[in-house]
């Protein structure tokens, strides 16, 4: 009888025992956006001053790209022109879109999230600016970004006449961008790496001669194209 009681007690005590879990981190890549402080007015390379009232960009999926997948990644870069910002988060990407207000967050690092990739060599990052969806981070106070990837408003001041002309640049297309690391990230064991995506919006209006743009047409397709190119060129990825 004693042994039956002992077995019963053993079963009950096993049932009442608490679980124990130990977790060790694997390969992790923390992603953050970093922008310089926004001055009162930007000076372009053609001598214009740009006074910004609003400067918003929606940054959507961020994806680590394997070195051996670079060609495929480049192909995908050209096939996502109608992409929306929100895509599923995977071990090599973050799908959460973020509305970045450059007037408010300029000079402040903004942590987007952590990518947990499998071992391998990663040569770069793909970042896509794309119109936000309703659950994008920061959309609450900026719901005009639901169908825009970039919105810039303010005044342009001629360097000579000091005449100010209002402008609005609104980009609806997505802006895929490939950022190459100076050194590939090589992961063969668990470790944490910080990757900072630098965005230098001081250069976004470079190369535009506003004197050649018809009055009231500062948001023309040609200007938008140039701004879009400048946005792509203004980004760089640094790892630490």
């Amino acid at each position: 009888m004693r042994s039956r009681v002992a077995i019963g007690a053993l079963l009950v005590s096993l049932g009442l025992s608490a679980g124990c879990t130990r977790t060790t981190d694997g390969i992790e890549v923390d992603i953050a956006y970093q922008t310089p402080p926004t001055p009162q007015a930007l000076r372009t390379d053609m001598g214009y001053r740009v006074w910004l009232d609003r400067a918003l960009i929606v940054l959507g999926p961020v994806e680590l790209i394997r070195c051996d997948n670079f060609a495929r990644a480049l192909w995908r870069l050209f096939t996502v022109s109608r992409a929306k910002a929100h895509t599923p988060t995977t071990p090599t990407s973050l799908g959460i879109p973020l509305v970045l207000d450059l007037l408010e967050s300029g000079g402040i690092g903004f942590v987007v999230g952590t990518i947990r990739p499998p071992p391998g060599r990663y040569c770069g990052l793909r970042v896509i600016g794309a119109p936000a969806d309703a659950d994008a981070v920061g959309i609450k106070n900026n719901d005009e970004m639901l169908d825009r990837s970039v919105l810039l408003t303010g005044d342009i001041e001629d360097g000579e006449s000091l005449v100010r002309t209002p402008f609005e640049v609104s980009i609806q297309d997505s802006l895929p961008n490939e950022l190459v690391f100076t050194e590939p990230l090589v992961f063969d064991s668990p470790r944490l790496v910080n990757v900072s995506i630098q965005i230098d919006h001081m250069r976004w209006f470079d190369g535009i001669d506003f004197a050649q743009v018809a009055p009231g047409d500062a948001g023309s397709a040609a200007v938008q194209r140039r701004v879009a190119e400048n946005i792509r060129d203004s980004m760089a990825a640094e790892s630490q």
Binding site: G8, L11, G19, P91, P119
Partner: protein, 285 residues
């Protein structure tokens, strides 16, 4: 475990039931006041998800402590409590080491047909049981519950129903069963799928102390849900071929060992199971 049971229990389990077949717990012939205890260790590996994308690899060892008591010649009541060790490796080499209790299981087996009272050759039994939500729900570093396949139990009240048939003709025996578990919603809003196992085991026992087993197990699983969302890597069916032996080194002690080899895998999503190894001891009290 060392004290002797009541006097009506026979010196050895196989002698008491009039049949020399060596049986593991759950397959035995009930005899009034027969009491058996067992400790079983199970090892298996699982892979869920796509390699290099989101694959989780699981290595699991379960220790199952069980006792089975027959108050009459037709009824056996058994209780089994598992303790589960799981080692999960994520695609980014993050590792999770889990020790947790599984779900306590209580079963009743009632013989509804036997061809004769003593040493029956044909036994048909009904099985009814219940799994208790004694397991803990494990989560990842972000507090999100791990996939159902990685939990030590369902964390829910799960009724069990089934039927079994056993045939004894020394030195041959055959065991056939169909047992289905019907999970309810678990403690972390998990809903495991209905799981049905069909088992066939034949045994050849050329000596009183040693038998060889060969069989098959077919398992069909319904889809599982975590917090209302379908876990894509649950559901489907798998068939194992089983090869084992059972030995009696002492009249009160049985040892058994089984290797279960997956033969046909039609599991939903990206889910692969591999060789499972089972070994254990049974003590007749």
């Amino acid at each position: 475990m060392v004290a002797l049971g009541p006097s009506e229990a026979s010196a050895c389990g196989t002698c008491g039931v009039g049949d020399p077949t060596l049986t593991i717990v759950g397959f035995e012939q009930p005899k009034a006041h027969r009491f058996r205890s067992s400790a079983t260790v199970r090892h298996r590996n699982d892979r869920i998800g796509d390699p290099q994308v989101d694959q989780l690899q699981l290595s699991e060892q379960r220790l199952e402590i069980a006792g089975a008591y027959s108050p009459t010649d037709r009824v056996t009541i058994s209780a089994m409590m598992p303790v589960v060790h799981r080692f999960v490796t994520a695609v980014n080499l993050a590792e999770t080491d889990i020790w947790a209790p599984g779900d306590l299981e209580l079963r009743f087996r009632g013989v509804i047909f036997r061809d004769r009272e003593f040493a029956p050759r044909h036994l048909v039994s009904l099985i009814a049981g219940l799994e208790f939500p004694t397991s803990t729900i494990e989560t990842d570093g972000n507090g999100v519950p791990l996939p159902l396949e990685f939990q030590s139990g369902t964390g829910s009240w799960d009724p069990i129903a089934g039927v079994s048939y056993a045939f004894f003709s020394d030195p041959w025996s055959l065991y056939v069963s169909s047992v289905t578990t019907f999970p309810t919603t678990g403690t972390a809003d998990t809903q495991a799928g209905i799981s049905s196992r069909q088992t066939v085991i034949s045994q050849f026992q050329p000596w009183t102390f040693l038998g060889f087993q060969v069989g098959a197990e077919f398992r069909w699983d319904g889809p599982g849900f975590i917090q209302g969302e379908r876990d894509p890597n649950t559901g489907g069916h798998i068939t194992y071929g089983t090869f084992g032996l059972v030995a009696m080194p002492h009249e009160k002690l049985l040892m058994h060992f089984t290797a279960a080899v997956p033969l046909i895998q039609r599991l939903d999503g990206a889910h692969r199971e591999s060789l499972a190894i089972i070994g254990g001891l049974i003590y007749e009290i």
